[in-house]
């Protein structure tokens, strides 16, 4: 019998770090890149680092595009995308060319339009500004900082998908939620207390 929580191996991700937090929380999970496991899973965590195109290529190579779309939109399984894992939930990404995403959230991913004097990548701890409540942020003080490490950000077409943004000279989408689909631009697995609580909230929800 396979584990209820699948930690998806996308080939370009710091799986080990997310696994470390799950171990710390005492949560059982299975690391997999198998479509059958995705179909059987009750919850999925989708980490991703590097670039939109590369991560999508890895997802495609493993035959996971349709299984993930189905899991999210038809079976309505809770899924948490982290960093590029969140970005590929969109329809299209513009990093190193144009790349099709999973398309479960309308919108695109493009380079942060940082104002003059603001450096890219956006690296470091930043605060969040909330647009709506989310189970992800339960028991997390609103001024809690999370760790960001990216140059590209999501531009959702539906403002209602946005949980919170972060200020980087311009507002940058930090987390999204639509029913069972969750995404965080920052790295909860690297954000100490706040990140541990967020992952616990997703797992226990």
């Amino acid at each position: 019998m396979s584990a209820k929580l699948i930690l998806l191996k996308t080939g370009v991700a710091n799986i080990f770090s997310v696994a470390n937090i799950l171990d710390y929380l005492g949560v059982s999970y299975q690391i997999s890149d198998d479509a059958a496991d995705v179909a059987r899973a009750e919850k999925i965590i989708l980490p991703g680092v590097g670039s939109y195109g590369k991560v999508m290529q890895q997802v495609r190579t493993r035959g996971l595009v349709e299984p993930l779309r189905e899991a999210m939109t038809i079976q309505k399984k809770p899924l948490l995308g982290i960093c590029v894992g969140m970005q590929i939930l969109s329809q299209i990404g513009y990093e190193f060319g144009e790349h099709e995403g999973l398309g479960v959230l309308e919108g695109s991913v493009a380079k942060i339009e940082a104002p003059q004097g603001v450096r890219l990548p956006h690296v470091g701890w930043n605060e969040l500004k909330f647009e709506k409540k989310s189970v992800l942020f339960r028991n997390i003080a609103p001024e809690t900082c999370f760790y960001f490490l990216h140059s590209y950000a999501m531009k959702p077409e539906s403002a209602s998908d946005v949980i919170c943004t972060t200020d980087y000279g311009v507002p940058v989408v930090a987390a999204v939620e639509r029913e069972n689909i969750f995404g965080v631009q920052f790295h909860p697995e690297k954000s100490q207390e706040g990140g541990i609580t967020l992952i616990r909230n997703f797992v226990e929800a």
């Binding site: 370009v12 710091n14 799986i15 080990f16 770090s17 470390n20 937090i21 171990d23 710390y24 680092v49 590097g50 670039s51 590369k54 190193f96 450096r119 890219l120 990548p121 956006h122 690296v123 470091g124 701890w125 930043n126 003080a141 001024e143 809690t144 900082c145 760790y147 960001f148 490490l149 990216h150 140059s151 200020d167 980087y168 000279g169 790295h187 697995e189 690297k190 954000s191 100490q192 207390e193 990140g195 541990i196």
Partner: protein, 265 residues
């Protein structure tokens, strides 16, 4: 707005933590894992580990049995990342894309590249393409030349003819995500950062710069940001001996009015 970061820098030599001065004299501090639990408790923003084992860049050290016994870098990364849920950078000895891949898949978030980048600048581009620019930090060690300009020091020892500012700009163009800037002259002196160097590099590039080398007092950390215009300030020795040093440093920076992450948030 993103906070300025305070980053302890830990030097590893044959698997053990060391303190250095001028990149030459090394004093053994001990097991790398002892530090990890302290830093975790005190809300450190990031950790940077640099492997300065002699010969680590070439085959000799990689095959050295003694070094393997003391601590394969990947084992150290795994052990640290198991206890430390914060961003980790592991540099030193990076020569191939596989070196980077294996560090990242064992728990590191970023790597620094130094000698390899100087010898083969296209490596920066290849690495950024493969892993994302945000994972690739240029480690830039500098020394001041007689004419007042700054030269790049390669492999921790060899002063080159390469102008540090020119090289910093080039590395940015090639795809480096950040610069980890160290002054060989100030290393271990406690006299503060070479602020002229920090500012010159920080104003020459649009990627974040992490200043390192020379911190002896907390005000040096503040100066690195206010005068050097660095995005982050790193220090090695000053955090090794003193109890509660991170907490004191952060408190000083907060009181100086800097935009830093307060402990516990």
């Amino acid at each position: 707005m993103v906070k300025n970061r305070l980053i302890p820098c830990l030097f590893l030599r044959k698997g053990m933590l060391v303190q250095s001065r001028g990149f030459k004299r090394y004093q053994l501090l001990g097991n790398p894992l002892v530090a990890v639990d302290r830093y975790n408790q005190w809300g450190v923003d990031e950790l940077v580990y640099i492997d300065i084992t002699p010969g680590i860049y070439n085959e000799q050290a990689r095959d050295d049995v003694a070094i393997k016994q003391h601590g394969d870098i990947l084992e150290i990364i795994r052990a640290v990342s198991k206890r430390c849920f914060m961003p980790l950078t592991f540099g030193g000895g990076v020569r191939t894309l596989d070196d980077i891949g294996s560090r990242l898949s064992n728990g590191a978030d970023k790597v620094t590249v130094n000698t390899k980048a100087v010898e083969d600048p296209d490596f920066i581009t290849a690495a950024a393409r493969e892993f994302g620019a945000q994972c690739i930090i240029l480690s830039l060690d500098c020394t001041r030349a007689a004419d007042g300009t700054y030269k790049v020091v390669k492999g921790g020892r060899a002063t080159t003819d390469l102008d540090a500012i020119v090289w910093a700009k080039r590395a940015e163009e090639l795809g480096a995500g950040e610069i980890f800037l160290n002054s060989v002259d100030r290393d271990g002196t406690g006299k503060g950062y070479d602020l002229e160097l920090v500012k010159a590099v920080s104003t020459a590039v649009k990627i974040p710069v992490i200043a390192c080398g020379g911190v002896g007092e907390w005000r040096h950390l503040v100066e690195g940001i206010t005068q050097g215009e660095a995005s982050a300030v790193a220090a090695a020795n000053v955090f090794s001996y003193k109890e509660q040093s991170i907490i004191e440093a952060k408190r000083y920076m907060v009181e100086a009015g800097l935009n830093v992450r307060k402990l516990g948030i």
